[in-house]
Assembly symmetry: D2
Homo-oligomer: 339 residues x 4
């Protein structure tokens, strides 16, 4: 961490500040410039809040030079983490193909979609039970009943199941029944939930990026879960909020190489929520895979016109099947390329 002093700072200020910093068990190194003096802080600065010095009258501003996260940091864990979801591995070259409807709507629907996406190559089934809807008057999901329907679909197809947890009081139920616990974009900074997920959830966690979260905030959310005890976190980019409104959100595929550089956690892409339009999904899915994503989360619905939520962004099963065929070819040519 570097403390940049104001031009008006005196030698006494420097003395006072270095003494204060050293009293916390850290070392300092002072650089006297022509215009400004800076104090370098040496040691483990993760525990220092830069704002504590920024408020000092003699300080202009404070800059971090290293990342504030440890457990998620690739620097201290150079190999890719591989996360196990049911008996499916994700990360380190293993791809997650998560598919299913936005919301579980009936037994017939979820079983039909599950069979269909499995036949196309999906290896994890998704389906919303509790839905975070912008309007209190919109369909809020079937709740616990939906989880039981997902379990029936699992029994039929063998696919592990993924659904979103919105309320910590359901953690015991999710521990019992759900294979991959999703934390949604609107709860990415719900720290009360993240802590309990870290402490109590016994299953891997799919952590979606917040609607307007930086890479660092996103990784820090993963760090919350990890620091509280659950190391099995998969990150999911699902589009960020920008000024462009033609698409629901702007899909940030640069996140793939960035997250892989900064962390050892797997990252998958959700192109359905990102664009909000089904016809954007195939192009963005293929792009994600060749850019190095560890998987895809795609909404598939057997009858999008009748979908109770997010119909416009759902692929029909035949389009998903055709997309998965293309993806398999791309995966193959990329694997050949590495020989």
């Amino acid at each position: 961490m570097i403390v940049i002093l104001k031009q008006t700072a005196t030698k006494d200020d420097v003395k006072r500040l270095t003494k204060d910093i050293e009293s916390k068990g850290l070392k300092t190194s002072v650089v006297v410039g022509t215009e400004q003096t800076i104090i370098g802080i040496i040691g483990d600065t993760t525990l220092i809040d830069p704002k504590m010095y920024e408020v000092d009258e003699a300080v202009d501003h404070v800059m971090r030079v290293s990342e504030p996260y440890k457990l998620a940091n690739r620097q201290f864990h150079p190999n890719d983490s591989i996360i196990q979801v049911g008996d499916v591995l994700v990360g380190g070259g293993n791809l997650a193909f998560i598919a299913g409807p936005c919301s579980v709507e009936s037994k017939e629907q979820i079983i039909e979609v599950a069979k269909s996406v499995k036949a196309s190559g999906a290896n994890i089934l998704r389906g919303g039970a509790f839905k975070p809807r912008t309007s209190p008057y919109s369909f809020q999901g079937m709740g616990t009943e939906a989880i039981d329907l997902l379990l029936e679909a699992k029994k039929e197809t063998g696919l592990p199941i993924c659904t979103e947890l919105m309320d910590a009081s359901y953690i015991p139920l999710f521990n019992e029944k759900v294979d991959l616990v999703q934390i949604g974009t609107r709860n990415m900074q719900n720290y009360a939930l993240l802590k309990k997920v870290g402490q109590e959830v016994k299953k891997p966690v799919l952590l979606k990026r917040g609607l307007a979260s930086t890479y660092e905030e996103w990784i820090m959310a993963a760090e919350y879960i990890m620091a509280n005890g659950n190391k099995n976190v998969i990150l999911c980019e699902r589009g960020i909020r920008t000024y462009e409104t033609y698409t629901r959100n702007t899909l940030d595929l640069q996140a793939i190489p960035v997250i892989k550089k900064l962390t050892h956690l797997p990252i998958i892409i959700d192109p359905s929520h990102a664009g909000g339009k089904w016809w954007l999904v195939p192009a963005m899915s293929k792009a994600s895979i060749v850019a190095g994503a560890d998987g895809l989360m795609i909404e598939v619905h057997n009858d999008p016109e009748k979908a109770l939520s997010d119909g416009p962004q759902s692929l029909r099963p035949d389009k998903y099947d055709s997309l998965m065929k293309d993806i398999k070819k791309l995966v193959k040519v990329m694997a050949d390329g590495n020989d």
Copy 2:
């Protein structure tokens, strides 16, 4: 609501769609344009999800023409809502001056700050008990103990107290001890929490705008609380996320006239979190008041260098006092202006 059809849509498509819409108890009116046909939907469309029609092969897109919120809508409630916090009224010309430290840190600190801000004209005391921090390694607040210290400060000064609720399991405690229950920016779309706040919280709610929430999403979050039973919502603008990083966030003061036009709820401004720099607070506070805000929420700390959180954005008591003097003058001249 208006459904804009594709150029390729046929008369049969129009027939099919109007029939479907009318089966929901709504009326339709078809406008055949030179390039496109549109279907107007007449009736209470709050319950219809525009996406249900957007997915139709014959439909290009769907536009709302009226707002999706009812209880918060000024159209159906032309008079300003006045919310009572302890014995302080907020809204309809009554100003809330909420002040206090970011975090409660000790009995001495909170009582000293409380006395000081009261003397300057504050009428509600704030102080963080549970803190949503980006890093799991940062100070997370003193928790329930802080609430008891706030109560001691209340006893000393008579100021009603405001603090943030992050976890629904604390609602009984907040109902017992807290006068104004804050929902923070990171939980603005934590719908599980909003529902319980609507159903169970017996005190007024201060709802901060989400970091990257639109006016409509923000009002819909208030609508969640109101639709679940608690009508006493005060909105709080605290800066939104933009590309500009010199300031912590960009304070959106246009929110004041916009929110007052769209809703009947009071709106107050938090200039401390918006800019993240104490020297921005006086200018933005005065600007807020003359723009018509129903109050201010300002961080005041007796010793910002030692603050355990957000020191750089906290005003010292003397600066707060001087600001409040300026504000009183502005309030007076504005009142004179209305005579």
Copy 3:
């Protein structure tokens, strides 16, 4: 176009407005809703400014239902435009591989890079002559001399050349010497320049998306050039400004399917400027191609450490070569897929 009236609008308002609209040769259709009345405007509304009605006391707001652009609109030109740059075709399945240094710095440099990128498969050479730099104290490009050096590199390699036009007074020079005239992101809404480019430039134009431009504004900038006489426009996505600052900009690959749906113009991707980091370029380049881009514009420098501008985002020739090998494989597998 649809005019949504206020609830307070009277029958006389409706009469007055429809009369006014019809006086402009357009037809109207009135839909009386339970809460609001709307007026549909039928006919060619491209020439009407929605704001003219928005200001009316009886009008709540006005919505367009069709796009404001004509010449660039795929609706009126269903086939892909194919643009010829020198003897290279771009669009309709023909890929542009534009490569070269950010700035032309010397004869040796540009010829060495040109030979190298040609050997790797590039078909157009780029090199900055006039550089739009944020600081007046930074290197501003070699100017006209750089264009002559580009011509020498063209003589050596046969590659057509692309460089940025910042000042309309250079149009005659560009018409004489440059094969593809780039309009940079900072000039995308420099309408004085766009008009002259439309009227006077005899070569195809590469139009970069503005730093914070919507798809519609970008297409409207192309429409400016086209409406003024030059139909040969290639669009180039180069990252947009968002709140995320780890990367220089956020690359918006959804732009590829969106632009292809809305327009018939080719779209290429510049991953170098988007991320600002060379190590993001390979992943984003491959992603762009499989997402359907009509080409790539990539910065390649033989000695990035010594580059006078944008070194960190430039690939070394060996990395470019390796990337082009990967891309050829992907292009092949995609072509096979279409058989």
Copy 4:
């Protein structure tokens, strides 16, 4: 400037880099941390491009610790600049009240509006002659004829005139006839224009903030003009682009204290373009003045329904008059406050 090395950097890397930096006449100071080594660069680093070192294999990233602008920097020019427009002073406590129609439309219109706004207290007349319109099919302004009409209005009222320059070829005309030369938001990074404005424009310049420009980019645009010879620059905040679309742009009033801290140039606010809605203008104008702005630029039209551009954001003369009365009261109470 601070160069942060990678953990893998060797002593030889440090030696090589410090030697290179010192060869440019700068000094270095090396701080060896537990995790990272950093090199402080001492001396005038304005001329160094941080990217030149960022590309080095041993370097992680480079951070500036001081601002890249000199002429506009308050650090080297502590007193407020006062700019003279005709015989009106702007800055240092002198307020500019610029008002007039978006576009000049006729002699009657501009003279009527000029007389009216003068009577209300405006001291500079604005009126668009050349209009930057998003659509090539929209009204583009009356051009040079409009400037002559502005001159007639000036003769009638004595108000100096302000209008936008879009094309450098008109500089001689503007030097002859216009008192304050506006550079619009879309040309804020049109560096070819900025240079010529610096070199050739003999009148003061009103530099609007770019649609998505940071404070630093905006100040650097002023620095372009100043470094090329014209020191008389007034900055104008007019709203920035964010995800919120209810308002045309988000007005950033924090810009007022920030710009005043960083530079010595005057800053005025344009609330008309910021919100795009006339009813936002009074609240935002009053807020701007109490926040310390050096003036306001407000669109006033005698017949907004008939305005050829931007009618919805124009105030009627009576509303402008009433606003100016309020502003005078606020200015008075603020002045009293300083006694």
